[in-house]
Amino acid sequence: MATYSLPPKPKRSLFKKTKRIMIFLAIVAVYVWTFLGIDVDWARAAERAVNNFHRVIPKLFHPDWEATGEVAGKMFETITIAFAGSFMAAILAIPLGFLAAQNMSRSRLLTASGKWILSAIRAFPDIILAILFVVAVGPNAFAGVLAIAIGSTGMLGKLYSEVVESIDMRVVEAMEANGANKVQMLFYGVMPQIIPEFLSYAIYRFEIDIRASSILGIVGAGGIGTMIIFAANNRNWNEMGLILLAIIIVVTVIDSISARIRRKIV
């Protein structure tokens, strides 16, 4: 049983070896930087957690039912913010989506600029946009609508442009051969192919916007977030429990309805 021959060692090029080592070193460097730089007072956090635990967690599970009316009202406002915002975004994203789609224009500059605008918008977190709009139109729900509208346009525009890029151009070509003009080609050749996907993505973005608009109130842009920040400042964790419950229920219900609608459309 002692006689066995070992297989040859794998041959790797010097380039691959150094590449592996470099990646490894880069990862180590990132983690060293992180753990040396981060400044967390573990002892104090732990102490606070022990002290506060019974003051916070049990109360979250005993919602303050008396606030039901107010919470329902603010939750409704949140839904209207999300709806108006995603509706506006669904429309605004159409021209941007076409602009960023490679097969819709021959000018590479135009396509590139469309893609750049979209990714620039996406780099702004919704709540930062909300800060800007609160300053611009005042601390109310409409600032939230504008923030959601602009924020969603970035993602929807990108998704739309991908849909447009994936359409079957032969249909459009056939119409061009029939002598159709550009507008006719758009309405009869392109639109039927993209409308279901566009709708489906818009509805999907509405799901995300419900979550997004529920926190905008933290910077004064209306909706249930307003109550979240009040409840936290007043340490009213019973009310916070009810707010959490409301968010969980509304998000779950809207997610499941929207998933059902999307399945029907596509």
Binding site: Y31, W33, T34, G37, I38, D39, V40, D41, R44, A45, R48, A49, N52, F53, V56, I57, L60, E77, T80, I81, F83, A84, F87, S119, A120, A123, F124, P125, I127, I128, I131, L132, V135, A136, V137, G138, N140, A141, F142, G144, V145, R211, S214, I215, I218, V219, G222, G225, I228, I229, A232, R235, W237, M240, L244, I247, I248, V251, T252, D255
Partner: protein
């Protein structure tokens, strides 16, 4: 004969779409538009001057933000670095905690149904709660600082990551796993040899994706006291120091873009 019936019916010019569909689509269209108009009115009811006034105001306000005071950037460098570090730690911890959760919520691995249903439900509830709301609660629990922010990010990204990865696990080729079982491997060996090599590239890619999400989320956590650059942003907003606010926003914008670019390149290399 059939030709004849066809030609007679075509003289009646049938509608392009059946009448019922047409009615349904029109109805839905009006409901959507109606609710949109209502939402617009509802959300503007507290505005003093109405929509037109606000738009006019916007020009004035934008002037307040410009020119941004870029000289504050060196001073906010540290909180910015801390924000990134928060996202790195949170993503790492979430990636580790995801492994058992994703396995237990994948239908083809967790064959014991109650466990599968329980983890699924838990993750579904977790995903409904927005990141900032989690941060508010954890700030209440742990006090102001980076720690509650990190915990909030971990919990938040865990929900997303575990779902993405359990879906990947559900789509793997089960044949090699069967072969491992047939040769007498135990559960851990079957998973490690049959499953892990199949999902590893997607796993790495999703972790990077969640890292991008965490970076975006971590820049705003400070707004509720959970540390990082958002804390400085909140202070400057409180002082109505808009040029400084704009400078910070521009910094955030650039950092997010750079990290996203790097992460995107890495992900392309992975798959």
């Amino acid at each position: 004969m059939t030709n004849q019936t066809n030609s007679t019916s075509s003289q009646m010019t049938p509608p392009l779409y059946p009448a019922k569909t047409k009615a349904q689509v029109t109805l839905i269209f009006f409901i959507v538009i109606g609710f949109y108009l209502f939402s617009m009115i509802w959300t503007q009811r507290q505005m003093v001057g109405g929509f037109a006034d606000a738009l006019g105001n916007m020009g004035v306000v934008i002037n307040k933000f410009f020119p941004p005071n870029l000289s504050v950037i060196p001073a906010v460098w540290d909180p910015m670095a801390q924000t990134i570090q928060m996202a790195i730690i949170a993503t790492t911890v979430a990636a580790i905690l995801t492994v058992p959760l994703a396995l237990l919520s994948a239908q083809n691995i967790a064959t014991f149904k109650p466990i599968y249903i329980m983890t699924r439900t838990f993750l579904n509830i977790l995903r409904t709660i927005p990141d900032l709301v989690l941060a508010v609660v954890f700030v209440g629990l742990f006090g102001i600082g980076l720690f509650p922010g990190i915990i909030a990010l971990i919990i938040f990204s865990l929900g997303i990551l575990a779902k993405l990865i359990s879906e990947t696990i559900e789509s793997v080729d089960m044949n090699p796993l069967e072969a491992m079982r047939a040769s007498g491997g135990n559960v851990f060996q079957v998973i490690y040899y049959g499953l892990v090599p199949q999902v590893l590239p997607q796993f790495a890619s999703f972790v990077l994706y969640v890292f991008e999400i965490n970076i975006r989320a971590s820049v705003v956590l400070g707004l509720v006291g959970a540390g990082g650059i958002g804390l400085v942003l909140d202070q400057q907003l409180g002082f109505y120091n808009y040029p400084n606010v704009m400078a910070i926003i521009i910094l955030i914008f650039i950092v997010v873009l750079i990290i996203e670019y790097i992460s995107n390149k890495l992900r392309e290399a992975l798959i």
